[in-house]
Amino acid sequence: MARIMSLRDAVAELVRDGDTVALEGFTHLIPFAAGHEIIRQGRRDLTLVRMTPDVVYDQLIGAGCAARLVFSWGGNPGVGSLHRFRDAVEHGWPGPLELEEHSHAGMANRYVAGASGLPFAVLRGYRGTDLVERTATIAPITCPFTGEELTAVPALRPDVTVVHAQRADRQGNVQLWGITGVQKEAVLAAHRSLVTVEELVDELTPVPGDVVLPSWVVTAVAHVPGGAHPSYAQGYSVRDNEAYRRWDAVSRDRDAFTAWLDADVLAAGAPA
């Protein structure tokens, strides 16, 4: 059963140096507060996994938490580049960043395989692209019935997956709705999981389109209202598009980034 914990305690216990860590959320419900806590606790050598390493991973990469990135689209949605990501890849600052690069379809299926207890997934994908040669975790596979050649990708099994959700009950059952992306798969694929929530409630009322993660497949739940900002939690907040735009200027410059890191993350401390 999931334990209700503070964000600080949960990150301290569940996220370890050298871990493979997935923070998921497809534009919606991105666990920014948990990302900042990982930075504050000074985690190093992480393999960061995420379909769309947007601003939250730009921050973790700039802060020096990451050694590897497994991803499929690294940009600031609707704004432009991720400058910390680019600085790491193009100039090795603050350290080198090894890439394992896939497509969205491949990443989604890798999580599906992980959630399904399978070592690999099959898709129609990648063929004819340079990703086939560049990425070791892409392999051909032949249909045993038709002889057709398709593509296999190995399962993703993060050491820990972190997601944000609208709410949980006091037993640790988690409920999220709206665009729920690949979060269910990412949690079920992981060895450990942490869910930050907008609200802790006595009872989860069903909501159309909701995904419920039962307490017994979640390791820890932390009550972190606003924990997705500047992303959003449908029904609780709207996306702070201006913050995404502002990030472009902050992140373009190493000094500006470092100043932001000091003031907005390190000095801020964990949420109560």
Partner: protein
């Protein structure tokens, strides 16, 4: 997020009555027919698709890779995962489902793609430019949904500004396949969609030659010339014998497009 976003940083050239971006968007919207299903990336493709739905194609089905199927936003979404998409969709499904059950089987009629680089066979690079893969001069966002959109949609529309920097002789990285190195490659790789049907630029419209698959300039936007198009192309551009002239944006298209773009600014 579709790789179309990689082109949004450049500012558009303007003409007296409309901008080059507006002409591109209107030309792209006209490619979308009523009652078809369109896989939409954020940025210009989303604007074009919503313009089409608000004008000549009210029954256009918008499918966003965030899992929103049949979204009917009354304003332009600010991201692929904008709440307005979930609120107005016929169904919101998981990201694995949108790729596996909806895109992969070839249910989607049209996919929109952008490009940082494009070659004569409409292959696309959105991965890196300059240097090496491990130490690129410019690291781009990468593949996103594009490789499988390019493979699986019944047909693809590419929207990209035309310049020697984007229209290159040889891609530095093939992120998404157009026609490979010519006829037969798509079939050989098992790509079941027909591939790029049209490339829309700020200068005109290119279409693959039916026999060689090589992109051929078939229409020029008002004010653009064949010489401009050739100069903006890093290979010896084929030009159709009878190059058409793109119909300029009409008043209705411009009015709706500008109203849509105003919702975008209002939302910031």
């Amino acid at each position: 997020m579709s790789s179309a976003e990689t082109t949004t940083e450049t500012t558009a050239e303007t003409s007296a009555e409309w901008t080059a971006d507006e002409m591109m968007t209107v030309a792209a919207a006209r490619q979308l027919h009523d009652g078809t299903a369109c896989f939409v990336g954020i940025g210009l493709p989303s604007t074009a698709a919503n313009l089409a739905r608000a004008t000549h194609a009210p029954g256009l089905v918008l499918v966003y890779e965030s899992g929103c199927i049949g979204a009917k936003p009354d304003r332009l979404p600010l991201s692929i995962g904008d709440g307005v998409l979930a609120d107005t969709a016929d169904a919101v499904v998981s990201v694995p489902e949108v790729f596996n059950y909806w895109l992969q089987p070839g249910r989607i009629d049209v996919g929109f793609l952008g490009a940082a680089q494009l070659d004569r066979f409409a292959n696309i690079n959105t991965t890196m430019v300059g240097g090496t893969y491990d130490a690129p001069a410019v690291r781009l966002p990468g593949a996103g949904g594009a490789p499988e959109i390019a493979a699986s949609c019944r047909e693809v529309v590419v929207v990209v500004r035309q310049s020697p920097r984007t229209f290159v002789r040889e891609l530095e990285f093939v992120t998404s396949v157009g026609f490979g190195s010519g006829p037969g490659d798509r079939e050989r790789w098992g790509l079941r969609g027909a591939g790029p049907r049209v490339v829309i630029t700020d200068l005109g419209v290119l279409e693959p030659d039916p026999s060689t698959c090589e992109l051929t300039l078939t229409s020029l936007h008002p004010g653009a010339t064949v010489e401009q198009a050739r100069a903006a192309t890093g290979w010896d551009l084929r030009v159709a014998a009878d190059v058409a002239s793109t119909r300029p944006p009409d008043a209705d298209e411009l009015r709706v497009l500008r109203a849509l773009n105003a919702t975008l600014r209002a939302g910031s």
